[in-house]
Structure formats: structure tokens, C-alpha cells
């Protein structure tokens, strides 16, 4: 059997319908009329029922109207609250309008970005590339002054944003040029908790250690163009950790913060290491408060402990001119005591204010000094160092936007017990107390720009006094987060 084609089916249907229409008989018509009549009767009944119900409802409505009249006062209050609600709705609409104007794109969630440009013009008597701090094992950090003349310093590019309801992340990169090549340094990349209670905070990643006072401040926040000598000698200008930090703020009116960090300790005063676990530990406590409305203070005590192995440094040269590579292995402990005091009349720092700060460092290192005497010969001896340093500075804003400051730096090479080694072979570690005096004046037309002139007499090098002139500008672009105290 073959299937019906659609065309054929259509033709067949078209032929069938007229046949049905003509087939309707008179009997059918009568039946239809009967049905219509029944339908009409049934509708009549239903309409009557509806009319009865309507009448009942009208009676009830009359009753309700008297009730409504009685509730007249209630209604007026209702009108008032309606007006209130309307006013609120208008406000909500205004807010909604404001919200609607915001960009609804993904970029609304972009992290806040800030760029800090820092450039210097300097005049030095001594060669900055030959900079060293006599009496101290070199820290290997960027401790030297910038090059003579114009120099484009580090530009800091920073990003920060809340990641989600639990974490906030910060990233800060330093863009610089080293011997004509662009260099990107990772200054900070860390994540901190937002949701911990009881005053606890955890930070992990690379961060500036919470020890001391100045350590956590970025170079653009410094009151002078360069870091204190003590920071340069003891931490290679600042202690930067790769690790975890735990901090706790006490629930007291007096500010008390306790913190501890475990970190890799790959950098001075630690040394490169290839081992599991942590290589550097810190603990710190800060206490702070107000004296009246005009003064605020903070003091702190910090401890840094690490066990560097084969921490290398160079001093002197052999007969062929090759630098002699020495190394130290042992235990290094640093204590820091810091204070800062700020004064402003009635706490209003916009016209005049004073800031005095100082820190004292003490480091003890005991271990073995591996001493390169040239050629293949080496000597090892137990060694012991006890060194200290401090700085004290005061910055006074004498009128809006203008500040002057002075700073004194002192280091004491202290006692260096080289055991069986001949101290004459290590001229760098010969006893010497470096010092430096600096004075600066800066002008900040707004919170985002600063121009500075700094004069300094730097006696870091034994017998070579370096008179320095610095001109510096610092510019902050984009989101500029609030500074710490």
C-alpha cells in the first residue's frame, strides 16, 4: 500500500466539506434551536442569581462606608504615612538614579590602581656606586644613593581590592631601570583576611614586615628622600618578608597590637636557602594612644631572628683584582625599639604640626665566618658581632603645605670578635661609627604631590665625608589609599 501524498489529501478534504454542509437536514435545525433556547434559559437564571448577589454586596458596601467614615482619623494618618512613603520612594528613586548612572560593566569591579612617580636630581661629592657602610657586613640591598645628576627613581604601581567577603589582596610593583634595562621588582603581593573576629588579622604573601615603625611605610611616605642608615645597615633598607603574618589588636582603649611573622628569610639578614620550613621569625608589639586632643604617640618593640647559612659578601681583592668572597653562617638576632610622637594644635594638623620619631636597632650575630684569603685558600673561624644603630628625626609643618625636617643617623660597629682571623684582612669590618646629618624642606601643594630639597652630610664611609644635595618630586596618581599613622 502506498502512502497518501499531502497534495492528494488536500484535494480530498476540499471535496468532502461542501458535501457535509448540504447533508444537514431540517430535523437537525430544530434540534439546534431547542439547544439554543435551553442555553438562553440557563443564562437567564444565572444573571438573576448574579443580580441578587450584587444587591447583597451593595448592602454590605453601605455598611463598610459607615465604618470608613468612622475611621476618618485613621485614614488621615494613613494619608500622612502614604506621603512619607512617597517621599521615601522619591528618595529611593533618586538613589536608584544615582546607582543607575554608575557603569554596569565588569570594570566596576576593577581594583583601585595607584601609580607613584618618584624622581630625583642629586649632587654628590663621592661616587654613589662605591657606597658602603663601613664597619658593617654589607646587606646587599639597594642602600646606595641614586646616581649623580638626574635619575628616574622607582615608579610604584599598586593594585588593591577586596577579593570577596573574606579576603583583600594588595600588589605593589616597583618599576625601575638598571644599567639601561627595565626592571620590575615585586615589592608586595599579599592577601589579608577581612572576616576574622576578635581583632585578629592574617596576611600572607610578600609584605613589609610589621617590625619597627618606618619599615611598613613605602618610600613615598618617608619624610626624607632616603632611608635611615640603621635600616640600610640592618635590613638592606627594609625588611621584606615572604611568609605569613598574624596580628592581634587588644580590645582596650589604649592601642595594643601584638604580631608575629614566619617567613622564608631569603634576604638579609637571612640568606638564600633551599630547605623546607621557615627561615626567619619576628615578633612585635606596639602600644599607642593620645595625650589630650593635641598629641598622639606610639611606641614599639620588635624582634627579628634568623639563621643565615653562607650569607655571602665581598670585601677586598686578591692579587689579580678578583673580589674576595666571604660568608657568614650562624644566628642573627635584631631588636628594635621605636617611638613616634605627633602634635597638632587641637589635633588639627592642617596648619601646623610636629612629628618626632626615632628607632634604635641592636643586632647580635654569632656563628662562623668563612674568610677567602685569595686563590683557593679559605679560613674559617668563630665570629661574634654586636652592633647597634639609631636615628632620630623631627619634621615640623610651619604653615600649610610647607614642612622642614632634620634627621640624625648614628651607627656603632660595636664589637666584632673575629676569633682566629686577622682583622686586617677584613678592612670593611674595622671598627667605625658611621653617621649622617640631614635637613630637608618640602612643599606639598596637595596630598598627591610633594617637592623636596634635602641636604645631607653622609659619613658612612670611613674618612670620606659626602656632602649631598637632593631635589626630589613625588607624585601620586589614581586611587591613593589612606596612610598609616
Amino acid at each position: 500500500m502506498s502512502y497518501l501524498r499531502p497534495g492528494a489529501l488536500c484535494v480530498a478534504l476540499a471535496a468532502a466539506f461542501p458535501a457535509v454542509a448540504t447533508a444537514a437536514s431540517d430535523a437537525d435545525l430544530k434540534q439546534l434551536r431547542q439547544q439554543l433556547k435551553e442555553l438562553r434559559d440557563s443564562y437567564q437564571q444565572r444573571i438573576e442569581a448574579l443580580e441578587r448577589r450584587l444587591a447583597e454586596t451593595e448592602q454590605r458596601a453601605a455598611g463598610a462606608a459607615t465604618a470608613a467614615a468612622a475611621a476618618g482619623s485613621t485614614a488621615s494618618t494613613a494619608v500622612q504615612s502614604v506621603a512619607k512613603v512617597e517621599a521615601r520612594a522619591a528618595e529611593a528613586q533618586a538613589t536608584a538614579d544615582r546607582v543607575a548612572r554608575r557603569p554596569a560593566s565588569e570594570s566596576a569591579f576593577n581594583p583601585s590602581v595607584s601609580l607613584i612617580i618618584d624622581s630625583k636630581f642629586t649632587r654628590f661629592q663621592r661616587d654613589p656606586s662605591a657606597y658602603r657602610i663601613d664597619g658593617f657586613i654589607p646587606s646587599g640591598g639597594e642602600v646606595g644613593p641614586p646616581r649623580k645628576g638626574f635619575s628616574l627613581g622607582e615608579s610604584e604601581l599598586a593594585f588593591s581590592a577586596n577579593v570577596d567577603h573574606l579576603f583583600r589582596a594588595n600588589a605593589r610593583f616597583a618599576l625601575a631601570e638598571d644599567d639601561g634595562e627595565g626592571v620590575v621588582e615585586v615589592e608586595e603581593v599579599n592577601v589579608e583576611t577581612l572576616g576574622l573576629t576578635s581583632g585578629l588579622k592574617v596576611k600572607a604573601g610578600r609584605f613589609l614586615s610589621g617590625v619597627g615603625y618606618l619599615n611598613q611605610q613605602h618610600p613615598h611616605e618617608w619624610d626624607f628622600a632616603d632611608a635611615p642608615l640603621a635600616y640600610k645597615a640592618f635590613f638592606g633598607y627594609r625588611l621584606q618578608n615572604d611568609g605569613v603574618q598574624l596580628r592581634w589588636v587588644a580590645p582596650t582603649d589604649l592601642f595594643l597590637e601584638l604580631g608575629t611573622e614566619v617567613a622564608s628569610g631569603q634576604k638579609f639578614p637571612g640568606a638564600e636557602r633551599n630547605r623546607n620550613g621557615a627561615g626567619l621569625w619576628t615578633a612585635f608589639a606596639h602600644l599607642g594612644g593620645d595625650i589630650g586632643t593635641s598629641s598622639a604617640w606610639q611606641v614599639g618593640l620588635s624582634h627579628v631572628r634568623t639563621n643565615p647559612r653562607e650569607r655571602g659578601f665581598e670585601d677586598g681583592a686578591d692579587a689579580t683584582g678578583t673580589a674576595l668572597a666571604h660568608s657568614f653562617s650562624g644566628r642573627s638576632q635584631t631588636w628594635i625599639a621605636d617611638f613616634v610622637y605627633k602634635w597638632a594644635p587641637n589635633g588639627n594638623s592642617s596648619v601646623t604640626n610636629l612629628k618626632v620619631q626615632g628607632e634604635y636597632f641592636q643586632r647580635r650575630e654569632t656563628g662562623d665566618l668563612n674568610y677567602d684569603v685569595g686563590g683557593l685558600a679559605e679560613a674559617t673561624s668563630a665570629a661574634r658581632f654586636r652592633q647597634s644603630g639609631s636615628y632620630l628625626q623631627a619634621v615640623y609643618q610651619f604653615m600649610p603645605h610647607w614642612r622642614v625636617g632634620v634627621r640624625g643617623d648614628w651607627l656603632r660597629s660595636g664589637t666584632a670578635d673575629l676569633g682566629s682571623l686577622d682583622p686586617a684582612g677584613l678592612p670593611l669590618l674595622a671598627a667605625y661609627n658611621p653617621s649622617r646629618q640631614s635637613a630637608m624642606v618640602d612643599w606639598s601643594p596637595s596630598e598627591f604631590s610633594r617637592l623636596r630639597l634635602q641636604l645631607a652630610r653622609d659619613k658612612s664611609r670611613n674618612g670620606e665625608s659626602d656632602n649631598q644635595v637632593w631635589l626630589q618630586y613625588i607624585m601620586s596618581l589614581g586611587a591613593h589609599g589612606a596612610h598609616k599613622f
Binding site: 580590645p251 592601642f255 597590637e257 599607642g288 594612644g289 587641637n346 588639627n348 599613622f485
Partner: protein, 302 residues
């Protein structure tokens, strides 16, 4: 030495933990006006701390250790918002380690969210000075705003401390009744100020001017947060000759130099307004703040 230090720290810690827990709701207000308002609404149930005083420039506050300590122990933060506290509050809140008071949480309240801000900048550029992207944040100079903030704050306090909801709404009702009566009084007294042209030191009184119909001819600051230079002031003096203002308004915390200079040259009074609670000896609470403000403005007319 190390163990001794640790012993002392442990002893200190114990002493700290042994402190009696405060029963009241600890409120951390960023500025005196919201501290006063929180006291009105909270009454006996709250312990209010004001982070700043009326003689401090609210734009230049530092994240002092004492503020971090107070934020740590607080259960509600009442801020102005609109970026007024951008220079210090974010650090204080983050450093406090108190998760409950972070922005977005119920215990973080911004007064500016309850009112409609004016002077919202149409372009954002730091070349325009210290601009606030959300609009002018000095909302407390209009009592109508204070009432709106009071209503929103009472709601928020009830949410943070549900046990005190009854007390907060009763206090709000009392406050708003008293406030409305006072507003009628101020508006009647200040009727002569309608349409009076004035100079302002900083755009601190935009809401006040809006409320009383005072006509602000302009600000002494060429741009928000920028000190006026002598050339700019000389230009204002010229404008003063063409369109004379009746007085110069400045807040209690601001520097007198520029306004006094112009006031002397133009021969018009410099009216120092309290700006917030505590800004003058008589402005001890919110009602007396506006009493004093209106009195001083009327004094400037004479």
C-alpha cells in the same frame, strides 16, 4: 630577657582580657554631629566615641592608634560617607581587626546614604582640587538632613541591637518631635537671611544655604582644599564691588587668614559658624548647634 618580656606581655594580656565587658552598645562616630545624634537616639543604651572634634579639619584626620583601638571595641560605626573620611577611616577599620564594622556590614552606617547629596561633580579630575565624587559631604548643616539621618540611624541601631529597638524608636520619636518644633523656630528666625548674598571659605555650607535660601556667591578657595592666593583674593574683592556680599562664612576649624583679609578690605563681617557640635562654646548639642548657627548668621546681618 626574652622570656621576661614574654611574661610581661602575657600578664598584660591577662589584665586586658579581665576587663569587664561593657553592656552598652559601643558607637564609633567619625564626627561630632553624628556622635551627638547617636546619643540622642541611643540614650542610655549607647556609649558614644567621637573620633574627631569640631576644631579639626575633617578632611585631614590621621589614622591614630587611639582610633584603631576604639574601632576595635565598637559595635557600630557611624560615618558621614561621601568620601569625607577617605583619608583615614579605611585604614582604621582594616587595622582594627573588627569584621563586624567593615563597610557593607550592618554595623557600618553612612549618614550620606540617607540624604540626597548636592554638588555632585560632573567631571572627576584632581586638577579641580579636593573633589568628592559622591557630592558635597557636609550634609549636617541642613537640619532636614539631620532628621533623615536620625530616622535611618534609629533603624540601623535597632538592627544592630534588636533588644533596644523599642527604646531607639521612642527616642527617635521624641527627638524628631523636638527637632520639628525647633526647625519651625529656626526657619522663622532666619527669614531675614533669605536671598542674602555671602562668600564662603570652603563649600562647607552648601546645605545650610540651600535650607535657608542664602545665596552663595562663591568660595574663597579657588578650588576645594586649595588655599586662596593673594591674586585670587584680589579678584574676589573686585567681584565684591560688582556684586556685594553681606558677609563671609567660615567653619570654626578653618584658617582665618583669607577670610579676615577679604572681610577687612570689603568691610563685611566674617561669621565663624560652629559647623558641628562643639564648634563654639554654645553649640553643645545638635539643637544648640543650629540655635547658635542661626544667631551668628543673624548677627552678621547687623
Amino acid at each position: 630577657m626574652y622570656s621576661k618580656l614574654m611574661f610581661h606581655l602575657a600578664a598584660l594580656l591577662l589584665a586586658v582580657l579581665a576587663l569587664p565587658a561593657a553592656a552598652a552598645l559601643n558607637v564609633f562616630a567619625t564626627v561630632p554631629e553624628w556622635a551627638a545624634l547617636a546619643k540622642e537616639i541611643g540614650g542610655e543604651r549607647v556609649q558614644v566615641f567621637s573620633a574627631t572634634n569640631a576644631l579639626q579639619d575633617p578632611h585631614r584626620i590621621e589614622a591614630k592608634p587611639s582610633l584603631i583601638a576604639r574601632a576595635r571595641a565598637s559595635q557600630l560605626v557611624v560615618a558621614t560617607g561621601a568620601d569625607l573620611e577617605i583619608g583615614w577611616l579605611p585604614v582604621v577599620l582594616r587595622e582594627s581587626g573588627n569584621a563586624a564594622i567593615q563597610p557593607g556590614q550592618p554595623a557600618y552606617f553612612e549618614a550620606a546614604s540617607a540624604v540626597r547629596l548636592i554638588e555632585v561633580p560632573v567631571r572627576l579630575d584632581r586638577a579641580d582640587g579636593d573633589v568628592h565624587p559622591g557630592g558635597n559631604p557636609h550634609i549636617q548643616t541642613d537640619p532636614r538632613n539631620v532628621l533623615k539621618v536620625a530616622e535611618a540611624l534609629a533603624g540601623r541601631m535597632s538592627r544592630v541591637d534588636p533588644a533596644g529597638a523599642g527604646a531607639y524608636s521612642a527616642n527617635l520619636a521624641r527627638f524628631s518631635e523636638r527637632w520639628k518644633v525647633a526647625m519651625v523656630r529656626w526657619e522663622q528666625a532666619a527669614a531675614p537671611l533669605r536671598g542674602v548674598p555671602v562668600w564662603v571659605q570652603h563649600r562647607s555650607f552648601a546645605y545650610l544655604a540651600d535650607w535657608l535660601g542664602i545665596k552663595e556667591l562663591g568660595a574663597l578657595e579657588p578650588k576645594p582644599g586649595v588655599e586662596p592666593g593673594s591674586a585670587h583674593l584680589a579678584g574676589l574683592l573686585e567681584r565684591q564691588k560688582a556684586t556685594p556680599a553681606r558677609m563671609i562664612l567660615r567653619a570654626a576649624y578653618s584658617r582665618p587668614t583669607a577670610s579676615d583679609w577679604l572681610g577687612d578690605r570689603a568691610g563685611i563681617p566674617v561669621v565663624v559658624l560652629p559647623f558641628t557640635v562643639g564648634g563654639s562654646p554654645t553649640a553643645a548639642d545638635l539643637v544648640s548647634l543650629f540655635d547658635d548657627t542661626v544667631q551668628r548668621l543673624l548677627g552678621g546681618l547687623r
